[in-house]
Structures are given as C-alpha cells and as structure tokens.
Amino acid sequence: MEGNLETMGALIGAGLACTGMGGAAIGVGHVAGNYLSGALRNPSAAASQTAMLFIGIAFAEAFGIFSFLVALLLMFAL
C-alpha cells in the first residue's frame, strides 16, 4: 500500500460525487413520468409538448452533470 492521503481523499470524494447521479435520476424520472401522465389525460396536447419534455429533462440532468464535474475536478484538477 502506497500513495498519499490527499489522493485517497480525492478519489473517495470523486466516488461519493456519484451519489449526485441518483438525484438526477429522480429528477429525470419525475419529468418523464409527469409528462406521460399528462399526455395520457390529454393525448391531443401531447405532441406539441415533447420539446418541453426534452428541455425539462435536460435541465434536470444538468445537476447530475455538476456532480460529474465535481468528480472530474477532484480526480484531475487537484
């Protein structure tokens, strides 16, 4: 076993940053599920709102991406 403590902490932190992925997963699932339930209630309005669905998914996903960014910073920029 060798290597310094700082690298170990950074790598553990990078691993912990993966938990942010779960939050993004909840967010994306929430957006898609609500879109589907709305679309089944009013199918005629569904087609015009697919763009909003993808915008919503993209914004929900952005916060999962920030945890990925934190992991990258910990692994390579520290």
Partner: protein
C-alpha cells in the same frame, strides 16, 4: 493504474479517448493532424454528402435520399420556429450546422475503432461558448441594456426580485458549463460502457452470450442517445436564442 493490473480483467475503457497524431512519432503539436481532426473532417464530409447530394436534384417527387435530407431540414426548422419564434429563423443556419455536426460526430463515434470528437470537453466547450457568447452579444445588440430585464423578473413580487436576479445571473453563467459537459459526459460514459461490456465478452471467449446480447442492447441505446443529445444540444441553443430575442418573460 493500467500497469498494476497484471492478470485478471484487462479493461481499458478510457483508451479510446486518447488524442494521437496521425503521422509521426506521437508528439502532439498544435498544427499536427490528429485523430480528432480526422473524425471532425469526416463528420463535415458526411454532412456535406448528406445535404448536398440529397438535395442536388431537387425533384418535385423526391427520392428516398432527398426525403431524408428534407425531413432533417424541416425537423430542425420547425424546432427553431416553435421554440425560439419566427424571428429566430434568421439564425437557423447556425443551429442547423450545430445539429448536423453534433449528430454526425456522435453517430460516427459509434463505429468500431473510431474516435468520438464530441466526447472531449474541449470540443463541446468551444461549441457551447460560441453559442453563449454570440447569444449574449445578440441580446445586447438587439435590446441594449433592456437585455438585463432577463434577470429582473417583473412578474415576481418586488422584495423577491433582487434574490431572483442573483439566482438568474448564476444560472445564466452556468449555461455554457452544463451545455458542454452534458454532451461530452453522455458520449464519454456511453462509449466507455460499451468498451467495458466488450472486455467482458473478450474474457469469456466463446461462451460470451450474455455480454454480446448486452452490447447489442447498449449499442442500440447509445444510437438513441446520440440522436437525443444532438437534439438536446440544439433545442437548448434555441432556448438561449429565445431568451436573447425576447428577454421579457
């Protein structure tokens, strides 16, 4: 890390993202053509072939190739018109270019032994910064200081507005970050996942039925992701363009 893993699983899923020069002994100068240059040029070539050859005849009754080219063209055009408004159609060429480049880069990256240019943050960040800077300049040119109304939400109660202005300002400057890393992260993660499953198949040898089936499924998913990420990249460009053209909420 790769040297220490002697024996056992030999998986190097990140090796496919290394930039190597096409000619010479591996030293990379700013002018040396690398695999990034090659695959970018191929994406450009595919776009040219797809659109120029597809619309060359301009027949009244289109053949299949022309139909697909027109389908993609009208898809992006309708997206710009619906999301950003009719007056945004002046900027349609930029958005169409971004869509075609991102889509072909993503799809070409799925070929075996190929290189995904959009998996590098340097590539996507330069595209996202192009969008960010041009949209900001456009907003100030069109509306002058009225563009700052984007951050001053007049629908909110007055005491809340400064707080919201800070939040809006932060989310505005975080836009190029999320815009670029979304694309690069999705591409990188997907391709690394395919390589990991491929390594499982290589270790198991002849009996590797499950990994091969899994690769086929993941590959199909990645094809979908390649299209959806190109779509998301362009639709977010449209959203930012709409904010620049109509800053009042």
């Amino acid at each position: 890390m790769a040297e220490t893993s002697s024996g056992g699983l030999e998986i190097h899923p990140m090796d496919q993202f290394t930039v190597v020069p096409l000619f010479g002994d591996g030293t990379l100068q700013w002018y040396s053509p690398s695999n990034v240059t090659l695959w970018m040029a191929l994406a450009l070539l595919c776009t040219l072939l797809f659109l120029v050859v597809g619309t060359r005849k301009r027949a009244k009754i289109p053949d299949r190739f022309q139909m697909v080219a027109e389908l993609v063209f009208m898809f992006v055009r309708n997206m710009v018109q619906e999301v950003a408004g009719r007056d945004a159609l002046r900027y349609f060429p930029l958005i169409m270019t971004a869509f075609m480049f991102v889509m072909f880069s993503n799809v070409l990256g799925l070929l075996p032994m190929s290189f995904t240019t959009t998996s590098h943050i340097a590539v996507t960040a330069s595209m996202a910064l192009t969008v960010f800077i041009s949209v900001t300049v456009l907003g100030f040119v069109k509306h002058g200081l009225g563009f700052l109304g984007l951050f001053w939400i007049s629908a909110a109660p007055l005491p809340l507005r400064p707080v919201l202005a800070v939040i809006e300002l932060m989310s505005y400057f975080v836009r190029p970050v999320s815009h670029s890393i979304r694309l690069a992260g999705n591409m990188m993660a997907g391709h690394a996942m395919i390589k990991v499953f491929a390594a499982f198949a290589g270790v198991l040898g002849v009996g590797a039925v499950v990994p091969v089936v899994a690769i086929a499924a993941v590959y199909a998913l990645e094809l979908l992701v390649a299209f959806i990420q190109a779509y998301v990249f362009t639709i977010l460009t449209c959203v930012y363009l709409r904010d620049a053209l109509h800053p009042q909420h």
